[in-house]
């Protein structure tokens, strides 16, 4: 029962850091708390990512042994393997890692912000709008902008619309999601309409934008995405203590002295940038944004907001999906968007069916 006297307990007080955390101090200027579990988890994910990369680099029409792949990565190996690994497979691998990480990180952020696990950029229509803008550029609607940048513009437009229509994210994000689904549907049908109005050749050249594929990536955009991810990850780390407040109600967040509007705007900008750039590279592969954070959450036992882990699991899912799509029906190649849809669709049904007490749905 309540301790009326508030007498002091006998145990001595130690001003240690909380259990499970490590304090990193830089003189008197910085004291940063880092969760030990997160370090271990992310190290394992990085190791896994490296192993999967080696397998991916070795798989294909010409198989290369893992040993040879590692040799090539360290600047050795024979010329043929060097050419295949470095010039053919490596750029595609990096595109998979970047896009997977971007989609998944954006998904985790948006789910957290909307307080709803359904609220990923793909579901709320950002992918579709980015696609519609890009396709409109490809089929030449009198707009001569590069499709990649049109994709980014589409992502921003969709988010702004969804947010505007919903009047903010609301308590549980339902309005935001419903508005977004509507915008996604409209953008999807605009894409179909555009494709049905042009010649088959033009439609074919726009096709990769509509399924999500890593075979038609723009090397320049891959690099832009790489830089974009680096910036966004730094942003996530800088604002991690603020983002950690997002699952609370608006009143609690305000009560704790944080500016809910600022936090939301920062999170939204990160989401739009990541999703827009990722769609510009690989087209709409949005289901990674649903699956990646979920795996990360299970791995972190639902503690905290696993932003970095989400990026890593997303990269893994994307890489393995692309590997699967590339090899399973070889020489026919399945676009990665189709593979993730095949994996992600049933998964979506599963989280809807599973009535877990932890589920925020």
């Amino acid at each position: 029962m309540i301790n009326h006297s508030l007498s002091m307990p006998d145990t001595p007080l130690d001003a240690s850091t909380p259990d499970g955390y490590r304090l990193i101090s830089i003189g008197q200027y910085a004291h940063i708390l880092i969760e030990k579990q997160a370090i271990i988890r992310n190290t394992w994910l990085l190791i896994l990512l490296f192993c999967a990369s080696v397998i991916t680099l070795g798989s294909g029409t010409m198989a290369i042994s893992p040993k040879e792949v590692v040799a090539v990565l360290f600047g050795q190996g024979n010329t043929m393997s060097q050419f295949i690994v470095q010039d053919i497979r490596f750029p595609r691998l990096m595109a998979a890692i970047y896009t997977g990480a971007a989609f998944s990180l954006a998904g985790c952020l948006m789910q957290t912000m909307a307080r709803n696990r359904l609220a990923t950029p793909g579901i709320i229509g950002i992918d579709n709008a980015a696609m519609a803008f890009a396709v409109s550029s490809v089929v030449g609607m009198g707009i001569s902008l590069a499709p990649s940048f049109m994709a980014l513009a589409g992502a921003a437009t969709a988010t702004a619309l969804a947010f505007g229509l919903a009047g903010g994210s609301g308590t549980r994000g339902y309005r935001f999601i419903v508005a977004g689904i509507g915008i996604g549907a409209i953008a999807g049908s605009v894409t179909q309409l555009l494709l049905s109005q042009v010649s088959i050749d033009v439609a074919n050249s726009a096709y990769p934008w509509t399924v999500g594929s890593l075979s038609a990536r723009d090397p320049f955009m891959v690099n832009v995405l790489g830089i974009g991810i680096a910036i966004c990850v730094i942003g996530c780390l800088l604002f991690s203590t603020q983002f950690a407040l997002l699952p609370f109600s608006d009143q609690v967040i305000t009560g704790l002295g944080a500016n809910i509007k600022h936090i939301r705007i920062i999170a939204l900008i990160l989401c739009i940038t990541l999703t827009g750039l990722a769609v510009a590279v690989a087209g709409p592969v949005g289901l990674v944004a649903l699956v990646g954070p979920e795996i990360a959450r299970v791995l972190s036992r639902y503690r905290g907001i696993p932003l970095i882990s989400s990026a890593l699991t997303g990269a893994l899912v994307m890489m393995l999906s692309d590997l699967f799509g590339r090899t399973v029906l070889s020489p026919i190649e399945l676009p990665v968007g189709i593979v993730t849809a095949v994996v992600g669709g049933p998964y979506l049904i599963w989280i809807l069916v599973r009535r877990s007490s932890r589920s925020s749905l």
């Binding site: 309540i2 006998d10 145990t11 850091t17 004291h31 203590t241 009560g255 002295g257 944080a258 925020s360």
Partner: protein, 274 residues
């Protein structure tokens, strides 16, 4: 460190909270109109009144969650909306009704969030933080439960954990929106006694309460509201009358002093006959 270090640090600033001609609207509907109110320092204030009378809106206005259409809320004499939010959060804590929490959070982790206004980007942890958390766990009597998951606790324990979070915030002011409305009798008492203890520590508290007898018993000052206006305010003994109860809730009752505490208790409550 000596055990006495657990004593809460004296608050270095005074803590006055008042509203001056405060008008709060939901959309175009005016909920509270031109209201003047001052929370007596170091006391427990209970805001009572029928459903929809604007109690919670007033509390949200006082805690800067609801932006006023006109008038000001003054925290230590300054407009609360002109002060940096973090600075306000070091003087005033709020426990809202809707307490959504992150999945899988433990009691200690929840309480740690109370330290947010004392931390910054680069100073995420200090000696003070651990002391404040220990103190909060102790004051809310949650030491044995600190590693339990929040959603595995009873309603009363959970509410105490939320209050502990605001204790860790180390503010001289604490506002609570219906802290006991979802709790059974035993758990209500747990929470009310904790609130009373906090006031004995020198905190100024204000709470929205539905249960009039509890308000009389556990508060020093009652603000009775109806239709966005203050009907009357003062100590429970002074203001609690049959007429007030009838005016507020439309019920008849008799009042008698509690033989143990002297605070008024309501008996023979019945529907008003016209």
């Amino acid at each position: 460190m000596t055990p006495t270090a657990l004593k809460q640090k004296p608050n270095t600033f005074c803590a006055s909270l008042s509203a001056d001609k405060l008008t709060l609207k939901h959309g175009k509907v005016s909920i509270i109109d031109q209201l003047d109110v001052t929370l007596p320092e170091g006391q427990v204030t209970a805001i009572v009144g029928p459903n929809g009378c604007g109690k919670s809106t007033l509390l949200n206005g006082l805690s800067r969650v609801h932006t006023p259409s006109s008038g000001v809320v003054l925290l230590d004499g300054k407009d609360i909306h002109s002060l940096p939010s973090k600075e306000v959060a070091r003087r005033l804590a709020l426990l809202p009704q809707d307490t959504l929490a992150p999945d899988g959070i433990t009691i200690e982790e929840l309480i740690r969030f109370g330290r947010h206004p004392h931390q910054s980007l680069l100073k995420q942890w200090a000696m003070d933080d651990q002391e404040a958390i220990k103190y909060a766990l102790h004051a809310a009597d949650l030491e044995g439960l600190k590693d339990r998951l929040l959603d595995t606790l009873s309603g009363g324990q959970r509410q105490r954990a939320w209050i502990a979070m605001s204790i860790a915030q180390e503010t001289p002011l604490l506002l609570l929106d219906e802290p006991t409305s979802a709790l059974d009798l035993g758990h209500q008492i747990e929470v009310f006694e904790l609130i009373r203890n906090l006031s004995r520590q020198g905190k100024t508290l204000a709470m929205v309460v539905h249960d009039l007898p509890s308000a009389c018993r556990y508060s020093d000052h009652i603000i009775a509201m109806k239709e966005g206006k203050i009907l009357t305010q003062g100590s429970p003994k002074d203001i609690m009358t049959k007429e007030l109860v009838r005016e507020l809730y439309g019920v008849d009752c008799d009042l008698m002093p509690d033989p143990m505490t002297g605070s008024p208790i309501l008996i023979n409550i019945r529907r008003l006959r016209s």
